[in-house]
């Protein structure tokens, strides 16, 4: 912005203001007629503006909720019920805010997967991408602290589990946890600081979003073909073309969102959070909100606490370095036949991790029969010395034979069945969880760097204006 900028707007008032503070120019070049945009963007490009809408919905509904909410351990739960029952339209505001958080993540996840598919993270958009990953991290922190505020059972125990993770940090872990708690357990000071931070972080997110849009405006949007814009014939002004398309996207999004808000507002929440927090009663099953499940699964996949935490943060950290892990010069998966396949496998893996995150880790998935050795040893312990030696010297693979030994050892039929049940060998959720976690990192750390070397990409079109090679010409090898 040169200091001798002279606004070009016709309207004298706008011209006067814009010359002194070029705010009209700024909006115009960011999301207006002055912003040339590739003309071939598909519907997946709607999710950027939808994410912006979600942020605004959360900010507005959130600041109204804060007028009625009481951040105190003894009153928080009751104040939320006060909002639901006594505040005019309070139920609507709260359901919008609670479901809004979920939908913010839906939109942002789709936005991220779109970036992965079309290579939007590659040069010259690395910083744009990294700012986006930063927004995701900030959103996760904000959402986590927001979920604590109603001070229900899941709020309390979720906060306990997650804050405890930081105790794994060497040397300063316990100090960090004490600092987070504001004491020696999750209690009123924890709630108070989480409320404060939950109000603060959205401003940080908003600031980062402004940087994100700024970084977008320098190279301009990527597009489904992944090739650079060659000239004005490839672009159309953002307004009115993409503004009207975004209005349509927003209408469709709001229809889905409102279906949840008005007809199944608690479907994405956990019933236990309608039970006030009780430090003396642990819920049988502590699960985070659905949008944390894949990361929670990665955390649980690693037996060591510190390494689990490291893996969980690395699962997002790896996104920061993705622009340099990907060695392929081609952006869009449209022209990368192998990457396209692995992209969809990766999507399935992410959903699989999400499923693992909410399942019992020891739930059996594939049975492999029983561990006869263990059963035999258990029975042998009750047998006299000579039969014990006989059994252990030659463990029968047949359950019926083992049962005769069990009868000899004085075990009842029911006790034997229980023993067999206990020694069942299965591929359980934890195994699947570990497999998928390994694949998640394999995808980023091995597949993506290697694909750039080995993949035969399809020929790229000349320009956006002549994007279609005849289909028969496509598989040129």
């Amino acid at each position: 912005m040169a200091h001798n900028y002279q606004s070009k707007y016709q309207n004298p008032v706008i011209n006067w203001i814009d010359t002194r503070l070029p705010i009209f120019w700024l909006v115009d070049t960011a999301v207006g007629a002055g912003h040339p945009t590739p003309k071939n963007l598909n519907y997946w490009w709607n999710f950027g503006s939808l994410a912006g809408l979600c942020l605004v919905i959360q900010l507005i509904s959130g600041f109204v909720l804060a007028m009625h909410y009481t951040p105190h351990a003894d009153m928080a739960f009751a104040s939320v019920e006060h909002i639901m029952r006594d505040v005019n339209y309070g139920w609507r505001i709260r359901y919008i805010h609670a479901n809004g958080a979920s939908f913010f993540f839906v939109v942002v996840f789709i936005h991220i997967f779109r970036g992965l598919y079309y290579g939007s993270y590659k040069a010259p958009r690395e910083l744009l991408w990294m700012l986006g990953v930063t927004i995701l991290l900030l959103m996760m922190a904000t959402a986590f602290m927001g979920y604590v505020l109603p001070w229900g059972q899941m709020s309390f125990w979720g906060a306990t589990v997650i804050t405890n993770l930081f105790s794994a940090v060497p040397f300063v872990g316990d100090s960090i946890v004490t600092l987070l708690w504001g004491g020696f357990s999750v209690d009123n000071p924890t709630l108070a600081r989480f409320f404060s931070l939950h109000y603060l972080l959205p401003f940080v997110i908003t600031g980062t979003v402004i940087l994100h849009v700024w970084a977008l405006n320098m190279p301009g949007s990527n597009n489904p073909s992944g090739i650079d814009v060659k000239g004005p014939q490839d672009t159309i002004p953002f307004h009115p073309y993409y503004t009207i398309k975004d209005v349509f996207g927003i209408a469709v999004f709001l229809a889905v969102f409102c279906a949840f808000v008005f007809f199944m507002p608690n479907a994405l929440g956990h019933p236990d959070n309608y039970i006030p927090a009780d430090p003396l009663a642990t819920p049988s099953h502590i699960v985070p909100e659905w949008y944390f499940l894949p990361f929670y699964a990665i955390l649980r996949a690693v037996p060591d606490k510190l390494l689990g935490v490291v893996a969980m943060f690395a699962s997002i950290g790896v996104l920061f370095v993705l622009p340099w892990l990907d060695t392929s010069p081609v952006r869009s998966a449209t022209f990368r036949p192998l990457y396209k396949k692995f992209f969809w496998i990766f999507i399935v893996v992410c959903f699989g991790l999400g499923w693992c995150g909410q399942a019992d880790t020891d739930m059996p998935l594939i049975p492999f029969g029983e561990d006869e050795q263990a059963i035999a040893e258990n029975i042998a312990a009750r047998l006299p010395a000579d039969s014990r030696a006989e059994l252990l010297a030659n463990v029968p693979g047949d359950l019926k034979v083992l049962e005769t030994y069990a009868t000899r050892a004085g075990m009842s039929e029911a006790a034997f069945e229980r023993l067999v049940e206990k020694e069942k060998v299965t591929f359980d959720v934890l195994h699947l969880n570990r497999l998928l976690t390994a694949y998640y990192f394999f995808h980023f750390l091995v597949l993506i760097p290697l694909l750039g070397w080995f993949e035969k990409t399809r020929p790229l079109p000349e320009s956006l204006s002549s994007p279609v090679l005849s289909p028969s010409a496509m598989p040129a090898e």
Binding site: K39, N40, A78, E81, M84, R85, W91, R92, Y95, Q153, I236, P240, Y241, I244, K245, V247, F248, I250, A251, V252, L254, A255, C258, A259, V261, F262, F263, P265, N266, P271, D272, Y274, I275, P276, D278, L280, A281, P283, S284, S412, A414, A415, R418, S465
Partner: protein, 268 residues
């Protein structure tokens, strides 16, 4: 509050206290009993179910009667104020009279003394016990949960409540489930043993509208009432939702047509 979880806890603890040797051979462990006998709630179709469903006012009042005459002996409903009962079809006069049947503590008066007075519509429904300790002392250590949010605080809440009190107590405890003193078998409870005795019996209440007071009828009536108590704004929510969806349907059509119109001149 802690209530349900702790009563579940209490049940577990009591079970755990049984002599280990006996439990091993003759009775199932708590986990095994749960796995073998636990039932998921039956599905009921309440008038308020579905996106258009609204409450049946007569059923709400019958349910309130069941709460008052049966449940309220042990369970509080502390988030429901008398004034809100106008929503279930009582007139303001009726609510005033109804509230006046209860006594609530107020004060301090000008002499610094606390005193009891008849409740007013602005008061909340008084709880059966002064505090959690008193409640536990009267219930063998178990804590009957507050019912204000019960249908939202359990998975498939309305179906669960109606199944638990309407269907669950008719089954005899199986022989391999050990039922200690102060425990009752109910396959719909998450550990199949809970500290609440069968609450409903045939003809336990006499409905003013002549509806036969079967156990299942009373269970569904009180479930409907508790569904209202958990979310009094449910009808307003659905009503608003219908309007919102109609508006958005129009917006989708208008914005799509505009989008296509604006893009007409863009060459592919």
């Amino acid at each position: 509050m802690k209530k349900a979880l702790l009563s579940g806890f209490a049940a577990l603890t009591l079970l755990g206290a049984a002599p280990a040797a006996m439990a091993e051979e003759e009775y199932l462990t708590s986990e095994e009993a749960t796995e073998k006998y636990h039932k998921y709630p039956e599905h009921f179709s309440f008038p308020q179910s579905g996106i258009m469903g609204t409450f049946d006012r007569a059923q709400l009042q019958r349910g309130f009667q069941v709460y008052r005459e049966v449940c309220s002996a042990c369970h509080s409903l502390e988030r429901v104020a008398f004034r809100t009962l106008t929503q279930i079809g009582y007139s303001e006069e009726e609510v005033k009279a109804l509230a006046a049947e209860y006594e609530v503590q107020d004060g301090p008066d000008d002499d610094g003394e606390m005193y009891y007075r008849p409740a007013k519509p602005s008061d909340y429904i008084p709880s059966p016990y002064e505090n959690e300790q008193q409640s536990r002392a009267s219930n063998g250590g178990a804590y009957p949960p507050d019912l204000s949010l019960i249908t939202k605080a359990r998975p498939h809440g309305p179906d669960y409540v109606a199944s638990l009190v309407g269907l669950g107590y008719t089954d005899e405890a199986p022989e391999d489930v050990q039922v200690s003193d102060g425990q009752y078998y109910n396959p719909y409870f998450h550990t199949v043993l809970l500290a609440m005795a069968q609450p409903l019996y045939e003809e336990q209440v006499e409905y003013a509208d002549g509806t036969p007071a079967t156990i299942e009828q009373m269970a569904q009536d009180v479930t409907t009432f508790l569904t209202w108590a958990a979310e009094p704004s449910m009808e307003a929510r659905k009503r608003t939702g219908i309007g919102v969806m109609i508006f958005l349907a129009i917006l989708i059509v208008v914005s799509y047509v505009s989008y296509k119109k604006v893009w007409e001149d863009v060459k592919k």
